[in-house]
Each structure stands twice: as C-alpha cells, then as structure tokens.
C-alpha cells in the first residue's frame, strides 16, 4: 500500500513537471512550428534562479519566485524576438540555434555555479502523513502550484480572448491575421507563456530535484517523447502523454531498479514506434491542423 501511494505521488510529481514542459513545448511548436530544444534549459535556468536567490542571497520565498519567473520569461521572450523570430522558417537553423542556446545556458551555469549537484532550500519544511505515506510538504505545495497553473492555462486557452487568438493563429496564421489578430504579437505572447510554464516547473522542483548544469538534456529527451506521443502541437495530448510517460517511467524504476538506465531506451523506443506507426500521435493531426 505505501508503495502504491509513493508511486502515485511520484507519478503526479513527475507527470506535473512533464505536463508543464510538454505543453509549453507543444504550444510554441503548434504556433510557430519552432522545435525549441532550449525549452528545458529555461526550466533549468528557473531552478538555478531559485537556488541563487534563496540559497546564495538568502531572499524570502515571494521575491525569489517573482524575480525568477519574470526573469526567465523575459529571457525567453528576448530570445524569441532577437534570435528565433528571424530564422523560424528554416528547420535546421531553428534546431541548431535552440540547441546552441541550450548549450550557452548550460555553460553559463557551469561558469556561475560550477559543475556541482545542488538542491535549493525548501519553501516549506516538514512532512504530512497521507493514507500511511509520509509526503514532504514541499511536494504537496509543488503539486498544488503545478495543478493551479495547468488549470489556469487550460482556462486561459479556452475561455479568454487571448486564448482564442492563440488557437486561431495556431490553426491558420493567415486567416487569423485577416480577422484582426496581430500574429507577431500573439507569437511573442505564446513564447512568453511557454517559457513561463517551463519556469513554473523549474521553480516547483528546485527544492526537490538535484540541480546540475546538464539536467536539461535528459529532460529534453523525455519532453520530446511526450510531445510526439501526444501529437506535436496538441496541448491535450501533451497533458495525457506526460502522465502516461511519468507512470511508465516510475513503474520501471519501482519494479526494476537496475533498469533505470533503460527508461530512456524504452521511452525512445516508444517514440520511434509512435512516429513510424502514427506520426500524428494520440491527439495531433499531422502538421498543419494542430488542434487544442
């Protein structure tokens, strides 16, 4: 029973992070057809930001979170405006420039913090017993933050005017622009939202996961697997794919601890099969008509 409880908590935790990352990744791909390989690097940047403000500078929780969120989002928007926007027609250039961006962030982190394993101080301390499983309060808080953000994202995309314009641009940028939607502005806002989602993920796991300069690349692989499984560009697919992959990953780790190296292999094999059998994924429609 405690095993199942821990499995559920771990799956929700990992699935939540994956869902935040994959939905942002998917959002920007559906909008601008940019495969942003630096996406998880922004996640890592947020985790480092939390570590820096809370551990090195000793700031309180609220200013740390606020400054990290705003800073990372701003960086994402700037990267889009001055780098990605200019070359987004060319697939190879986009892939290369985003991987280079990720490497730049990684190396700057190495310069700033060194090649060490770090853990940010927890926002809340202590443990709570839920159904016989002791769960760190920090985990509950992180889960809460992620759940709230995911619900807000869903409502924003379906109910608000901005959400409608984002979805319209994703479906057909030309028609959207004829309907009076400013496409460049919408794209910039989407990039901001996508990066902010990654930043929220980074902020919520900073006290729980070890932070190291190369943490973004294994995560990137998992996010790509999830997004392909759910269908590139489909937000719903990303959410569901995130929890499926998190569950599979945790099942492998729980029942075959020696096979933790193989999780990536299985995940990638999964991605290859999905790509070959059904390139649209679970919920995507191929290429042009990405739907929510």
């Amino acid at each position: 029973m405690p095993l199942i409880g821990r499995l559920i908590i771990q799956t929700l935790m990992k699935g939540g992070v994956y869902a935040l990352l994959a939905s942002g990744f998917s959002l920007i791909f559906g909008m601008a057809h940019i495969i942003n390989l630096a996406h998880t690097a922004f996640f890592m940047l947020a985790a480092y930001g939390m570590f820096y403000f809370m551990h090195d500078l000793g700031w309180g929780t609220a200013p740390s979170i606020a400054l990290t969120l705003v800073g990372v989002t701003l960086l994402g928007v700037l990267a889009y405006r001055f780098i990605l926007n200019r070359i987004r027609e060319h697939i190879v250039a986009v892939l290369l420039i985003t991987i280079a961006l990720g490497l730049v962030i990684q190396e700057v982190m190495v310069l700033a913090f060194g090649n060490h394993y770090l853990v940010a101080p927890p926002i809340v301390a202590g443990y709570t017993k839920i159904a016989g499983v002791s769960v760190a309060n920090q985990q509950i808080l992180s889960l809460g933050i992620m759940a709230v953000v995911i619900v807000f994202l869903w409502l924003a995309l379906t109910k608000t005017k901005l959400g409608v314009s984002i979805r319209a641009t994703a479906q057909d940028a030309e028609i959207a622009s004829l309907m009076g939607i400013s496409v460049p502005r919408t794209l910039t806002i989407t990039m901001g939202i996508a990066t902010a989602l990654a930043a929220v993920g980074g902020i919520s796991v900073a006290p729980l996961w070890t932070i190291y300069p190369q943490m973004w690349s294994p995560l990137l692989v998992m996010v790509m697997v999830i997004v392909v499984l759910g269908g590139l560009g489909s937000i719903k697919g990303s959410f569901i794919g995130a929890f499926i992959i998190a569950l599979v990953e945790n099942l492998i780790i729980f029942f075959m601890p020696s096979g933790s190296y193989l999780t990536t292999v299985f995940a990638l094999l999964f991605m290859v099969i999905v790509l070959v059998v059904r390139p649209a994924g679970l919920f995507g429609t191929i290429f042009e008509e990405e739907k929510l």
Partner: protein, 353 residues
C-alpha cells in the same frame, strides 16, 4: 605516364589556377600532406590534426546524407558509435586486429544506415529529425545498461592503428582524402558520369517533382543513407583506434549535433564547407585551447555555441560559402566559376560586371 602528368598540369593550369576556391583547396590538401613531414609538430597538435581529418570525414558524410538530400539526420553519431563499438567489441572478444575490424565496423555502420532508412523513409521535416535523434540515444542507453560487456562509461580499450602518431595521422589523412573525393564526385551535379548529384539536388528541392520525373527517390535516399553511414562508420572506427578507447562519448547527443554545427558553420550543401567548419570550430579552438589550460580551452562549448548563434543569424549560408561568393563569380552564361577580379568570363568572354 608523361601523358598523365601533362593532363594533370593542363587541368591545374586551366581549371584550378584561375579559380581561387579550387586553388585554396589544392594548397590546403597539399599542406596537410607536406607540412607534418617537413616540420616536427608537437604530439598534442599532431593528435588534434589527426582528429581533424576524422571529424572532417564525419562532417562531410553528414553533409552528403542530410545536406544534399534534405533528409535532416540529427542522429549521425549512431553510425560513428556503431562503427566504433563494433570494431572495439570484435577486437576485445575475438582478438582481431584493427586492420580487419575497421572495415567490418564500417560495413556494420553502413548496414545501420540502411536500417535507419526504413523508418526514416516514412517521415519528413522535424519528425524525421526527432526520429533519427532517438537512435544513438537508444544505443547509448543499451551500452550503459550492458556495462559488463561494453565497459559502460569507461568504454573498451583498443589498440592503436599504428605505432607512431605520424603514421596514424597519414593513415587517417589518406582515408579522409579518398572518402571526401568519393563523396565530392558523387554529389557533383555537373558530372558527366554519375547522375546522383543532380538527383540529390532534385530530391532536396522538390521530392514530388523528382518522383514525377521518373526518379526512384526511395532508392536514392537509401543510397544516401548507405554511403553517409559507411563514411561516418569509418570515421568512428578510426577515431577509437587513434584515441585508444571506445567510450560512450561516440554516441552522445553532442556528437550528433557537432556534425550538424560544423556543416552549418562552414556551409551546408557544399563538400568544402564542413571541412572549413571542422578546421575553425574544432582545430582552431583546440589549438587555442591547448588542452583546457587557457580561457578558450575551458569554455570551448560556450564559444562554439555563441559563434554558431551569431553565424546563423548574420551569415546563414555558412562561412566558406560566404567567402567563396566574395572571391569567385559564376558566369551568367556558361555557369563557369571565375575569379572575382575578372571583367569577362575566362571561357565564353561574357561580361561579368
């Protein structure tokens, strides 16, 4: 014999000397062959030069496979690593010598190219890139998981291809020169003897139109994957036998991306571009870096990434192509390359200004 020399001289006088790009290429290769014989190069620098020839072959094979046909392969390290591990495993368990394991490793890498091609044929654009990116990572996971056989993160110790650094350098250089010549000839769109160059260009520009013109595009894509895999595999086997160890570094994501970065830096869809990319981003950075003792040596990845971002933004066609466009001009009438200083075409006399 005299006839051959005379023909070579005529070719040099009339087709190489008036075109600065070709002259630079000839001088460059001549220098690669002559300088290490005449000047004693320190061991570190000679090793870097050896790796330069290997990586040049690796980068050119990516350009051949992905640049020319437009099938953007983001897992080129697969062939490199398959060749490397195949050669190392044969050496470890059967005790075969590098002279035998290198060709076998290359052939297995070629088969890996064929195997990759089948799922890859079904996909296009970013989907193809994601798919190919997955293969070396899967193999890497297996290599780490089966560490009793593959040595895990420490890799497998293998013998060197030759006793001295200089002979290693010459073996790699000769193999690289032959490989680059073959790939250059195969991709030459103006060639009278092979059609592959023209067909690769057609597939990249418009696959449906190529198919409508009666070209079996699948066969040519298969050919591109086969030959690209073969030469990348040779590069991989040579790499481990120069380094002395076959480790997981041959399969990591960085290895795949490095090939793409070198090619994009030098100039995609040009055989000389990747070589320039390797010279600048690998050799120059390592010469300046001197084994991590200087600032440049410690921050190579950072410098390389920043250079790549700036280059893609401001010089998207690649450095080598940019330079070539400055020093050469194509005749609008007969499409022959001319030095940029000429007023009229050297063959047909058309006005170039």
């Amino acid at each position: 014999m005299v006839g051959l020399v005379r023909r070579l001289f005529t070719t040099f006088r009339w087709s190489v000397l008036p075109v600065p790009g070709r002259l630079i290429a000839v001088i460059f290769f001549a220098a690669l062959f002559i300088i290490p014989l005449t000047i004693t190069i320190p061991r570190y620098h000679l090793l870097i030069l050896t790796f330069t020839t290997i990586f040049a072959m690796f980068a050119v094979s990516w350009d051949f496979l992905s640049g020319y046909t437009g099938q953007v392969n983001f897992g080129h390290a697969l062939f490199f690593g398959v060749g490397a591990y195949c050669s190392a495993l044969l050496n470890k368990y059967l005790g075969w010598q590098p002279g035998l394991t290198i060709p076998i490793g290359a052939v297995v890498a070629m088969l890996a190219g064929v195997a990759t091609c089948f799922p890859a044929l079904r996909l296009r654009g970013p989907y193809l890139s994601l798919l190919t990116m997955a293969f070396p990572l899967m193999l890497l996971g297996l290599v780490i998981a089966l560490k009793d056989y593959t040595g895990g993160e420490y890799g497998i110790m293998v013998p060197h291809i030759a006793a001295t650094g200089l002979s290693q350098y010459y073996i790699c250089l000769i193999v690289m020169t032959v490989a680059v010549l073959i790939m250059w000839k195969l991709t030459d769109a103006g060639s009278k003897y092979v059609r592959t160059g023209l067909i690769f260009h057609a597939i990249r520009e418009d696959e449906i139109a190529a198919r409508a013109s009666g070209i079996n595009t699948i066969r040519y894509k298969l050919l591109a994957f086969t030959i690209g895999g073969l030469f990348a595999g040779i590069a991989g086997t040579l790499y481990v036998h120069v380094l002395g160890v076959a480790g997981p570094s041959t399969l990591v994501l960085t290895m795949s991306f490095q090939a793409v970065i070198w090619v994009a830096f030098g100039g995609i869809v040009s055989i000389y571009g990747p070589i320039v990319g390797v010279i600048v981003l690998y050799t120059l950075l390592h010469f300046l870096g001197v084994g991590g003792t200087t600032f440049i040596g410690r921050n190579q990845i950072l410098i390389m990434s920043v250079v790549v971002i700036l280059m893609l933004l401001f010089m998207p066609q690649g450095v080598a192509v940019w330079v070539r466009n400055k020093i050469e001009r194509e005749c609008p009438r007969c499409k022959l390359a001319n030095g940029a200083w000429r007023k009229e075409c050297r063959a047909c006399g058309a006005n170039l200004r």
